[in-house]
């Protein structure tokens, strides 16, 4: 009951935000919601099923490039491109998951494999002429008179509501998955894979499902990224730094929880932005400051709140 009231308050605040706050703050909120969304997607794989991916930028990049290239080269509308993007990401995820789980690669070695695939793909795209190779892929930006949701062209406010809807959808899906049979099996696999197997849970199938679902969701974020930023470079979108950014939110917020990825993304992005603003207000320019800040946050959480920020807050609120 309390949880429902708080959740409704949060929803109302987020829906009303663009009417209240400045355009600058809306753009900060877009980034925060973006990370809340991808964090939620990554959390399904790591937080629910216990499979560590350090290469989730792969699926962001694949989603972004698939939809953007189809749009730029063939005029395929973004919502159709989205379906293609999801299919491509799921195919990659299925291939990686199949290789890893069929041959019993797990733990750290699985994480290394996810990095390797993200890196292969980055290098591949650097030489992939059809999508602009290392010179990048640019979406045509025309003067916007209004918002066109079908073409995914419009004002930041439109993008704000798109990413808000995505984040809410990811939250609802995660919630449903957690209480479903498959969520139950994921929990068993995360807690003790051997035991799950001994009980007759098809660990191969459910681990694969976690990877594929997570990749599909992440690729949607990629499509959003492409149409919001309008330019894509393999060196940026597939970089391991991006993968790390994705996982910071859920880790700091609380792995395996529903609110953790949301809370973590907001705390990190809002604080990082405040820090950037504060430093530039002092007339300083410190490159890499955000990364240092992320590192400090991670250090503090790991040392003092190993389960993340959310669980103690949930206890305090008696949720």
């Amino acid at each position: 009951m309390r949880a429902r009231v708080l959740l409704s308050l949060l929803a109302v605040a987020l829906v009303a935000a663009p009417f209240v706050v400045s355009g600058y703050l809306v753009s900060v909120l877009i980034v925060a919601l973006y990370f809340a969304y991808v964090g939620q997607a990554w959390n399904i794989m790591m937080g629910f099923a216990g499979q560590l991916s350090l290469g989730h930028a792969l699926y962001v990049g694949l989603g972004a490039y698939t939809a953007a290239a189809l749009f730029v080269q063939s005029g395929v509308p973004p919502w159709l491109g989205l379906i293609a993007a999801i299919i491509v990401a799921m195919a990659f995820a299925a291939a990686i998951g199949f290789l890893a789980f069929r041959f019993g690669i797990s733990g750290v070695y699985f994480a290394l494999l996810t990095i390797a695939f993200a890196e292969f793909t980055r290098i591949g795209f650097d030489h992939f002429g059809w999508v602009g190779a290392s010179a990048g892929l640019f979406l045509p930006v025309s003067q916007r008179s209004g918002s066109d949701l079908l073409a995914l062209r419009g004002t930041p406010t439109m993008f704000y509501y798109v990413i808000l809807a995505l984040a809410a959808g990811a939250f609802a899906l995660s919630r449903w998955l957690l209480t479903s049979r498959i969520g139950f099996y994921w929990m068993a696999i995360r807690e003790d894979q051997d035991a799950a197997q001994a009980l007759g849970i098809d660990t191969f199938r459910y681990k694969l499902a976690a990877v594929v679902v997570s990749a599909a969701m992440t690729s949607i974020a990629g499509v959003f990224f492409a149409f919001y930023y309008n330019n894509l470079f393999p060196e940026q979108i597939f970089s391991i730094g991006r993968s790390i950014e994705i996982i910071l939110g859920p880790i700091i917020g609380g792995l395996g929880t529903l609110f953790g990825p949301v809370l973590g993304a907001f705390v990190l992005q809002l604080l990082a932005e405040a820090l950037r603003e504060g430093v530039s207000a002092l007339g300083l320019e410190i490159p890499g400051l955000t990364q240092v800040f992320y590192g400090v946050c991670l250090l503090v959480v790991v040392m003092f709140l190993p389960n993340g920020v959310w669980p103690p807050i949930a206890r305090r609120l008696r949720l």
């Binding site: 139950f184 807690e191 001994a198 009980l199 007759g200 098809d202």
Partner: protein, 235 residues
């Protein structure tokens, strides 16, 4: 019921099982005893589809199950209570038990199975809402057995159920296994380091050394064997 023939298992170049042959008849209690590292756990895990043998056959009710994935083997009615109990510590007792009913063959009977397990282990019923990690060692072992029963197995392989338990609790665990065998007709494969107690308890026994079955016979006969008494029982 279960027939293993000429089973060879390798971990890389190291041979863990060497031509293991043994048989379990319906409603029997068969003990496989041996020292640490003799290959007992490897044997159970191989039967359960967790390792792929290099050679040999495993037949369950006449059907070869080598190469089948674990969940299929479970569906056939072979359950396993793994070494070190392997309960899910952060889940409640009830959730642990529900997890045991993941098999298709067990889903319809989940309610009845739960009643049955709570009947066998009243302590688990009392503590159903408690996190499994907070149970005592003996209770955790009971939970592991109960969870296995939730899958409605007809044959259960117990891997060192006495490990790390106080003697009085070991006695209880063995008593439960005997009841399952007598009253519910569950066939039992018991793998143990606790040689004297398990041979006294089993209908038949096999002695495994360095991955090889070196002796077999009825429990009492093996117990009376001088070599075994010297090597394992310490008399």
């Amino acid at each position: 019921m279960l027939r293993v023939e000429g089973l060879d298992l390798f971990y890389g170049d190291a041979q863990a099982l060497d031509g293991v042959t043994f048989e379990v008849k319906e409603r029997e209690i068969v003990a496989v005893v041996g020292a640490n590292g003799a290959g007992k756990s490897s044997l159970i895990r191989t039967i359960h589809g967790m390792h792929r043998p290099r050679a040999g056959s495993i037949r369950f009710e006449g059907r070869d199950i080598v190469g089948q994935p674990s969940h299929r083997i479970c569906e056939l009615g072979i359950g396993q209570v793994a070494e070190g109990r392997q309960i899910f510590p952060s889940l409640t007792v009830l959730e642990n038990l529900e997890m045991g009913a993941a098999l298709r063959r067990a889903r319809a009977q989940e309610k009845a199975s739960l009643e049955r397990v709570f009947g066998l282990f009243p302590r688990l019923a009392e503590r159903r809402r408690q996190a499994a990690g907070t149970l005592s060692g003996g209770e955790q072992q009971m939970l592991a057995i109960g969870r296995c029963l939730m899958g409605c197995p007809r044959l259960v392989m117990f891997d060192e159920p006495s490990l790390g338990l106080a003697p009085i609790v070991v006695y209880d665990v063995f008593e439960v296994i005997r009841r399952l065998n007598r009253e519910e007709g569950i066939t039992v494969v018991l793998v143990e380091q606790n040689v004297a107690q398990s041979l006294r308890f089993a209908d038949r026994g096999y002695v495994i050394e360095n991955g090889r079955i070196v002796m077999e016979g009825s429990g009492p006969a093996l117990l009376a064997d001088d070599g075994i008494r010297r090597a394992y029982v310490g008399l």
